[in-house]
Symmetry: C4
Amino acid sequence: MLPDLSYPASTEDWRRLAARSLPRFLFDYIDGGASGERTLAANVQDFAALRLRQRVLVDVAEVDTRATLAGQPCALPLALAPVGLAGMAARRGEAQAARAAHAAGVPFTLSTVGICPISEVAAAADAPPWFQLYMLRDRGAVRALLDGAWAAGCRTLVFTVDLPLPGMRLRDIRHGMAASGARPALIRAAQVLARPGWVRDVALRGQPLRFGNLTAQVPGARDLGAFKAWVDAQFDPSVTWQDIDWLRGQWKGRLLLKGILDVHDAQAAVQVGADGASSTAWPRPPPSCPPSPRPWARRPRCWWTAACAAAWMCSRPWPWGRAACSSAVPGCGRWRRRARRACAPCWPSGSASCCWQ
Amino acid sequence: MLPDLSYPASTEDWRRLAARSLPRFLFDYIDGGASGERTLAANVQDFAALRLRQRVLVDVAEVDTRATLAGQPCALPLALAPVGLAGMAARRGEAQAARAAHAAGVPFTLSTVGICPISEVAAAADAPPWFQLYMLRDRGAVRALLDGAWAAGCRTLVFTVDLPLPGMRLRDIRHGMAASGARPALIRAAQVLARPGWVRDVALRGQPLRFGNLTAQVPGARDLGAFKAWVDAQFDPSVTWQDIDWLRGQWKGRLLLKGILDVHDAQAAVQVGADGASSTAWPRPPPSCPPSPRPWARRPRCWWTAACAAAWMCSRPWPWGRAACSSAVPGCGRWRRRARRACAPCWPSGSASCCWQ
Amino acid sequence: MLPDLSYPASTEDWRRLAARSLPRFLFDYIDGGASGERTLAANVQDFAALRLRQRVLVDVAEVDTRATLAGQPCALPLALAPVGLAGMAARRGEAQAARAAHAAGVPFTLSTVGICPISEVAAAADAPPWFQLYMLRDRGAVRALLDGAWAAGCRTLVFTVDLPLPGMRLRDIRHGMAASGARPALIRAAQVLARPGWVRDVALRGQPLRFGNLTAQVPGARDLGAFKAWVDAQFDPSVTWQDIDWLRGQWKGRLLLKGILDVHDAQAAVQVGADGASSTAWPRPPPSCPPSPRPWARRPRCWWTAACAAAWMCSRPWPWGRAACSSAVPGCGRWRRRARRACAPCWPSGSASCCWQ
Amino acid sequence: MLPDLSYPASTEDWRRLAARSLPRFLFDYIDGGASGERTLAANVQDFAALRLRQRVLVDVAEVDTRATLAGQPCALPLALAPVGLAGMAARRGEAQAARAAHAAGVPFTLSTVGICPISEVAAAADAPPWFQLYMLRDRGAVRALLDGAWAAGCRTLVFTVDLPLPGMRLRDIRHGMAASGARPALIRAAQVLARPGWVRDVALRGQPLRFGNLTAQVPGARDLGAFKAWVDAQFDPSVTWQDIDWLRGQWKGRLLLKGILDVHDAQAAVQVGADGASSTAWPRPPPSCPPSPRPWARRPRCWWTAACAAAWMCSRPWPWGRAACSSAVPGCGRWRRRARRACAPCWPSGSASCCWQ
């Protein structure tokens, strides 16, 4: 039996490689969804159901995919979405991904629960990242994190609003992530020992493995467990639009809300002064909504986020104005080399013809 | 090969565990449907097709899932549906499940053909269960069963109306449940011997294995076969709404009809004085029905029953007024420990926002 | 490994048994369809998509499923459709099936290319069968076959009109049925030798294996190949409605046309004096047809034929008046024993409630 | 285990044979599509969803499938579409396929990047082929190729307009077709060595393996790599309708545009003087198009091209006038023998009845 020499060519290929190289509980953290993962499957299907209108004989010798996202010029209307614990999936994963994003000319978003601190990420990419934050019970900690991000040069805040409680992620329950004692420890130890390459590359040479942005908030924490306990205690299910109002006053930069799925919530986002919004799913208005939210649609730019969505998703004016897409690519060192190749053929016919009208 | 240490996290996981621990004919009794099982599959699909409308930034710090079902306050709008022979699937299964339901604050329904008598179930849970009954040819036996239930404290009768004849359950036919002689005995013996854990736990220590509520009706019966013969002879295909009228006069408590699938039958249930109705399927009006039964919908509360449906089904006002769901969870000793964990995250955004409007 | 002792319970179970006991080319003759078998799959799906409206609390103690098909009283509105070469699938298969049908009180239809002659079939069942015929180039042979059927007591002719040319059955091509020489002979010999039970039961003890109704037409034929060559040469692609007119004059009994799929053809069948029509598929009017053929629908009774369709298909008035269904059950000796059991539960709620209205 | 003696009977069977006899990268060149191959899958599904209206009792003794395509009388309204590198898939593949097409009475289209030069193909079939061309940066080379085709007797030019850039074919990327160095060479060597029959038949006895029509344009080229480099450099993404206008002036014969998918582009093709157009997919107007392009539809005849589409696709007047279908059958020596058998049963009921109206 020959070894598999073939080159990975799609997000699905990269996903299979990740499944082979990561301990199962880390792979499932990135790959899994909540409950029966039906919404996750529906998102993938909705993207797959998109059809581009194909016109021919349009001069595409000079295709310009540049766009401006949150006031920042980009090579593509696409930003890397925040991925928690990316530094557990690859050695100093956030720094690697930020470097690759910068080389490709697209923004990188650092997660609150990233491994690398924002200063390390900003230095690695020679450019400050966007910063993602949840609302914490300790508003002083929120202010401190905002100050730290601003000091590191960050001017775009991606604020997650769809996580008042952690989702019921069944894969995590199966691995015993919510349990304690010998059995879950055994499960995870077996998964880690099955991936010696990961142990060598990430666990040993990717230290320190803690939440880099939260070391000041959790001074005594030494391991991820202590950090996780603090984060879990900080989830605030009582957050409302009034808290966003307060946040708007705290942050002078751009404010994007992440996790808006309903047209009425998008309208509320406009009223509260957000500069944009992003969903984790195809923005399909529910049956009870008015079919066309166009009058409102002109105002803010909205982004879609889809973990691992193929990069070919292009701009589409309906239903929320001209939208861009953002894609979370799990930390991988080879991303930079492939970024241009993967994205360049995405816009074969130019923005004038390769989109729905 | 390491043993599988992972934790079960979904009804599908529990189903697989049950398939491994129960003799096949008992598992198929719970897991199977009639004929080609297409209606069963359609029910699962219909539930899976449900989408919740997701609003964000609603204060969900205090989520109250309490409801009143058949006049009884419950922690959740959910009741355990009757499962026949539950005491064959787990040691004194009905008593275990009633205890777990009581701890979770939801009603438990005891099947006529349960193994534990109603007195044992009421004592185990420190609370009387709901009681499920079929119409029997011997109306004296019906009256005696009603009297026994009333004496045990039961005040809610769940009366099954969709079983004038036993369904053509192909799995049972394959196992020879309808045949006699050496071959079916061989089939079942092989299935029992393949599950020594069940033999030890249920067959030996779960005695007596007979229909606990019917010992007075079938005094000479010693084994399940004799009970089953009596029950089969008691099926009454001539039952009509006039018999429900008679039943209504016999029972002073709440009367819920189980197995209503048609809007016209639901209307008849109202007229005959039933306090509620429940279907075994998603209440989809057939094509020939008027699209909106709203004028009638306000009157009784209706329940859906779906064997093994995930607990996350929430209240939905259409088409039969505000409905609750009931879920049959096959008897399992660990249910109590997990009940809260499984149900708590089901209502993440509160009744004000996490439902269709 | 224990032998599989389980009982067959569905047409799918019987199909698997047939696949294990018949030489592959014979199984595929019964099981296969034309081309990519997409129409076959669509037929199965169309039947599976049927939903019965379920009403409850209807007195079904006395369910009467009797019907009159082509003037003949039947226990069920169902007839066995003609299956060519049934005597190759079971020992004297047509005689066995006719006996089983007679015992179940439903008509049996003998194929022109059956193995047993009509006299043998009539004697076996103590009742004359219906007789199926294709149009042959030799109209004298057609007349002789009609005379033979009439003499045997047959009064209902099922005339196939959808086979002007043999279909492109890919399974037959794969087995080399259309080729000659050593290779196809090798293929079939290997398939026959793999089924010693069939060789013993059918090939040796089911003699003579020739087209029993055609021995007078092909006097010199000794083996099936010679019969098949004659039949292939007799296919008449030039048949039109005028030939049916001629046929109508030749046959004094009931005339049913088999293979009508289009509403306009069904209307033509009425005008030419046919007493009924049957399709091999769900009678779905094509998109271009007027939606409701009701004005015409009142006149003849129409039958659907679906090879191996489950027996539970019930009467449904749309779109061609009150229709009955006919089902082809491949010859099997055990059919009689099971016929009542399989059919009895099909009509659980009586004709008044268990059908679409 | 006996060898598989069964006969191939469908395009899917032939596809499996090809997968077993061709080096993987050559098979994938023919079998694969762009990106996630969703459009490819949608094409197959769209063809499979076609339903023919079945009328019966129509005289089909004399079925005439003759048609005139691009002014050329054909036995069937079907032409072989151009397949690049067909001479790599079979020994002198284009010559073989042209011979088979000529024997079947249908046109053969030679690809620009075919292995056999047009003179060899014309001589093999005793008839000039249609010729397919891309627009090249070097317009002098275009003119030279047109002159060469005209000199070889070709009068129908099939001009591809949907390839301004090579598609992102993931299978090719996996095999390293776009990479250089030892790893891709190793991948391809392993694939070639696994198919000794192909090495013997095609690689050794099918020489010379170069782009036969381009030897004059790339005089120094010795191997396929050098040809491919020249072709890749000649892709011209700046082509517009004005270039088609120029082309129309250069070519006195029939001009068919290949790759039209949009109704507006089809209208432009009419205005620029094209004699026909062909798509690579079912001509489904996009949602934003007017539903009926009938006013325009009368003018040119349009062809559909579908790689490996079954030959049974028949004429269908909607939506682009009376259309014919063309099917790309990968080079196979046995095509001729089977062509009549495969096509004859496609038109069982004559053109008057076997099509949608």
